[in-house]
């Protein structure tokens, strides 16, 4: 039941044809080479995943995550290096692949199971477990086209996890299905892992990665940027994302040439800039300001965007502004606060403003937001963490 993955010096190059090669072209210009762009989707990747490990893979779109999954699933071959996968692979990238809408659930279980590499006998033996896991026993002899999308995903997932895979490749599929079924799947994935399988989880859902994986790999532009403890990995990823956000900043309407924010960072108790933190940590948002003109009543605002992108907290010190700043002066403003949120990815924004003599407010500078991953407590959900304690009475 043990499986493992060894990736050595792997690169995958895709050829992008400007046009689909045409038979006519090929015949007319046999000698002439087609105009092609070559693109390395992955380069120089080394990775080793042992039996019983669950490793997360994160990275922004186009970082090579899907290519890595395709290579491990054997869907394509590397251009250089070698990929070795020990054990039977179940790609959960593709639950329900080959489901035919006209066939019944029963027929589709056999079809899908065979595509996944099970023999007919194996499927017969596991059939009840599959139907049971999918929770669709009344519908098993109904054509799949009458299934809800949730039912189709459940059935597909059930076939894949009941195949007793030794290597599980998990994609965003878990995003589908209701919460209870998701929990059931996660539990099953963990069972498969503890029985000795290796699990690779590729996801944009950092909370899930954090929950399931102790180790996480950050892919960026086709190379491995980080490989280690998950929280560090997420911090690395956010630092990479912030670098890019910096480039795209400047979308807000600000009054120019009055003052600049030269630095913006979130620091932990020891003053180190962070992109990830455990819940409840005392954090400091720090901006370094350089004034180009006199500013009568400067102030700053702190905004925290929740995982869904909506602002969940905002506070400024407009009513009690800082002392005046003279032209040419530099100053550091700090806002100290508690990360009282459950697990999730948050955006932390700060802006520098001033209050004019006529009490009019102007925004002078708004640096690019800092992404902050908060590692919450087990089983805590919601918008805020109220620091609940659980105790049994006498």
């Amino acid at each position: 039941m043990s499986g493992s993955i060894v990736v050595e010096g792997v690169g995958k190059q895709y050829v992008k044809y400007h046009d689909q090669p045409m038979l006519a072209h090929a015949l007319v210009r046999l000698a002439a080479r087609s105009r092609t762009d070559r693109l390395w989707a992955l380069r120089g990747v080394d990775l080793r995943i042992d039996s019983g490990e669950c490793v997360g893979v994160v990275g922004r779109n186009g970082s090579g995550k899907s290519t890595l999954l395709q290579l491990l699933g054997g869907i394509t071959a590397p251009t250089e290096g070698t990929v070795t996968v020990y054990g039977r692979v179940a790609p959960l990238i593709s639950v329900g692949v080959g489901f035919h809408p006209e066939l019944t659930g029963r027929d589709n279980v056999f079809l899908n199971g065979t595509i996944l590499g099970m023999s007919r006998r194996d499927i017969e033996r596991r059939f009840d477990a599959i139907v049971d896991f999918a929770e669709i026993d009344d519908f098993i002899d109904t054509p799949v086209k009458f299934y809800s999308s949730g039912m189709q995903v459940r059935l597909g997932f059930a076939v894949a996890v009941q195949a007793d895979p030794q290597v599980l490749l998990v994609d965003e599929v878990l995003a589908v299905g209701d919460f209870a079924f998701q929990m059931k799947c996660l539990k099953r994935i963990d069972e498969i892992r503890t029985s000795g399988a290796s699990v690779l989880l590729v996801s944009h859902n950092l909370s899930m990665v954090e929950r399931l994986c102790r180790r996480t790999v950050v892919l960026h532009e086709g190379t491995v940027r980080y490989d280690g403890p998950t929280l560090e990995a997420i911090s690395t990823l956010h630092a990479l994302l912030d670098d890019e956000a910096q480039v795209q900043a400047g979308a807000v309407e600000v009054v120019p040439n009055v003052a600049d924010v030269t630095e913006f960072a979130i620091c932990n108790g020891s003053g180190t800039p962070v992109n990830a933190t455990p819940t409840g940590e005392r954090l400091t948002a720090r901006v370094s300001v350089a004034a180009h003109r006199d500013i009568e009543r400067p102030f700053v605002g702190l905004t925290i965007d929740g995982p869904r992108g909506d602002a969940i907290f905002h506070q400024g010190n407009r009513s009690r502004p800082f002392p005046p700043l003279a032209a040419g002066e530099r100053r550091v403003y700090e806002v100290t606060w508690n990360a009282q949120m459950p697990t999730g990815t948050y955006g932390v924004r700060m802006h520098l403003g001033s209050i004019a003599a006529d009490d009019k407010i102007a925004i002078l500078s708004e640096p690019a937001p800092v992404t902050l991953f908060v590692q919450g407590k087990l089983d805590a959900h919601g918008v805020i963490d109220v620091e609940a304690d659980f105790a049994a009475g006498d």
Partner: protein
Amino acid sequence: MTCWFAMSATETDVLRLSNSSASPRQLFASVWECRELITTLARKEFFVRYRRSSLGVLWAAGLPLIQATVLSIVFSRVVRIHTSTSYPVFVFTGMAVWTYFTSTITAGSTSIVDNSGLTNKIYFPRAVLPLVQARANLYGLAINILIVFALAIGFGDGLDAHILILIPATLLLVLLCSAAVLTLSALHVYFRDIRYVVQALFTGLLYLTPVFLPLQRYPSALRHVVLANPATGIVQLFHYAIAGGAADWGHAVLISGAWTVALAIAAVYVHCSRDRVLADLL
């Protein structure tokens, strides 16, 4: 570049990938391990086709029967043709082969592209997909051969030990079509024109196959073209199996065999080197 794992294999499931071609032995082994997959997909292919019609699988027999009836009426009225069996039996035998030949090659040559939903998501040797078509159409061929038997008895032609020739004849037909679709389906990934080239070829090819006319009735200039047709030898073999009589099939069968060998070599070459990267272009 081994690939496909059977559930029964215990600990030796190892997938090793690099940028090198598979050997023909590895290719055959991996396709052989997928034989159950081919059967399952072929059954799905055949039965789903008639799923929603009330007559169901009867259409598989009905359509070629109607086609052959119409054609044999037309041809027997317009031109008087003497064949070794009654004319409808002659036509229907040819049609049985021709139907298998065209439907397998038409669907098979586009099968890798048509199944991109499958090939992009999960690996099995891509060679499986065209072979599924060669396998799925065997159901139709079997039904048609049974109709031929019924017609031959019904028209008083009778059957004899010659029908045993159907076994090697069918084998050659399946091999020829498999080799052709394996090659064409891989080419079609690169050159999407293949779909239309195949369709264009088939519109004319029927009249250059001895389905309506016995080979010796073709004008001598045209006879060489008909002989070069890979389907001719197989149709001749089928006619010989049903009608017996003069054995004028040797030459044509050799040509069909040569086509099969040439296409098979091309198929093995293409799939050994390209099988795993075909999905990159879908």
